[in-house]
Symmetry: C2
Subunit: 316 residues, 2 copies
């Protein structure tokens, strides 16, 4: 058995896939996944935690393999009738997903924290690795766009990322604290893995919670690029780089994380940029980073763990 503890920082679909791969390779007590909660929101009175749900559903084997988010074998009966009553249907609430949101909302109203609820859900869904929200405090990503300031889900789902982005704010951050166990998990980890999630709206919120970045600094940190070539694997990260005046590429990702990360895992097709990344003081590690299936997830997870284990022996 590998003697190693790691922490993974994850947003939605891409993060969930790598977290799943790591969970295949490590023992449950070796992996803690810290999940972005800044795109949590209240919709139709329900408290929804999209990234936590995506990570949990994925780790539980309940995720929809087609979309990467939502649940497998989902039905949409309630949404059909909500629509008949004039309720908005831009956020696709499946029936089994709705049960999650209803339960979460009910437990919140009964004084549970997001950590308590997440732990309870993981137990009921048979998830053995530890999944922690970044914070139990309400932190909300606001997107500054050419059409004004938008709530994240409004921008991301309702407006389908169409507005031009010119910045972000994580409201509620100032007085927030990391969820119980987050700092301790980082401090006892051999390495921190930043999953291939959106740097702007999935990873930055986690790093912005007071004390989290500080706990990571100086610790072996490996990020996996969410960008291949000048495209995002999934989602608006490349579009955001462009709109903020930055040419999207693995170099832009390296520059974004800067000296927080020791290593950036990039796709083989971006091999030509290895040297440029290395000159930033970040070791580029090219491999196949596309995770199309369960096998890919496990392979990439294993490569990253092997890279961490061999870290001291391989230098630039």
């Amino acid at each position: 058995m590998i003697d190693l503890k790691v922490v993974a920082l994850a947003g939605g679909v891409g993060g969930a896939k790598l977290a799943d791969g790591l969970a295949q390779v490590l023992q449950p007590d070796q992996l803690t996944i810290i999940v972005n909660t800044a795109d949590d929101f209240t919709h139709l009175g329900l408290r929804i935690s999209p990234d936590l749900d995506t990570v949990c559903y994925t780790l539980a084997g309940l995720a929809n393999p087609e979309t990467g988010w939502g649940r497998v074998n989902e039905t949409w009966n309630v949404l059909t009738f909500l629509k008949q009553l004039g309720m908005p249907d831009w956020f696709t609430l499946g029936d089994s997903d709705l049960a999650t949101h209803l339960t979460r909302s009910y437990l919140f109203a009964n004084g549970w924290t997001l950590s308590d609820i997440t732990q309870d859900f993981c137990r009921k869904w048979g998830i053995r690795v530890r999944i922690l929200p970044m914070s139990d405090d309400m932190i909300q990503t606001r997107v500054f766009t050419d059409e004004g300031e938008l709530e994240f889900q409004e921008y991301f789902v309702h407006r389908e990322c169409r507005p031009i982005v010119n910045g972000f704010k994580f409201a509620g951050l100032e007085n927030s604290t990391p969820a119980p166990g987050v700092v301790e998990a980082i401090e006892s980890a051999k390495a921190v893995i930043i999953c291939p999630s959106n740097p702007w709206v999935s990873i930055d919120p986690i790093l912005s919670v007071p004390k989290i970045r500080m706990a990571i600094e100086g610790r072996l940190t490996i990020a996996v690029s969410p960008i291949i070539g000048n495209h995002t694997i999934k989602g608006p990260a490349a579009k955001m780089f462009s709109e903020l005046g930055i040419k999207p590429s693995v170099v832009a990702v390296a520059q974004h994380y800067g000296n927080l990360v020791d290593c950036l895992v990039i796709d083989n097709s971006d091999d030509s940029l290895t040297e440029k990344i290395n000159t930033l003081g970040i070791r580029a590690y090219p491999t196949d980073i596309l995770m199309d299936d369960q096998f890919d997830r496990e392979r990439l997870g294993r490569e990253i763990i092997d890279h961490i284990l061999g870290w001291e022996n391989v230098q630039l």
Copy 2:
């Protein structure tokens, strides 16, 4: 066309059936249905109005014809997943029904009143007669039993009416007012029809809202017995009479409503009790009061309307 306006007071299934029959016979502007809301409750954070829903679903043709409550072609997907997350499943939340509760709860949270919401639902469901909650204030039936004081749905659904009843309280009544239009509808009605609903927990709450009973007093009032022989057609009314030390019968119903009602519509099989009811100063009108199908509803509705129209000409 009949020149007549009537008000019907209704609880759940039995009340909804007669209200539906009346709606077949009358023009939409001739009928106002005032519905009990004292068994409304909050469940899993959702505001549920069982009697309003039953009446609306029935009038909209959406009710489950087997049960009389709930919706036709219902599915139970969300409930299955709620149960997996440890949520209680004693209150059977169907998927389409859940959409109603979610929408109601959302609109409540946005400052709508129960009247506003009911009107909106009726419009969306194509219901043309007017359905009013008895009050927009939260009034809640508490059942005093040998097992202590229980919330109504706890007694009625969760405990399946098993505890022995020794009384009722309608909490919140003191400071309540009738919903907008309730008193005006009664005052402009030729007659008030008390549907065959439970006298204790469906009709008494309506009559107990300040100003409603006063508006009805002195007006032609016709009740339809929910009891045939010594059994309730549906629900625990007969059991309640017995537990409160009263032999259940149409006579007990007549005594319960007392001089508020001018006429009690009873089943032909209770014809032998006609004289006993008449001696109470209440005219007994025996007919076939069982409503097994749509035809029965309309027939009973028409008989009652005809009886009201001929009232002045027929004396004891």
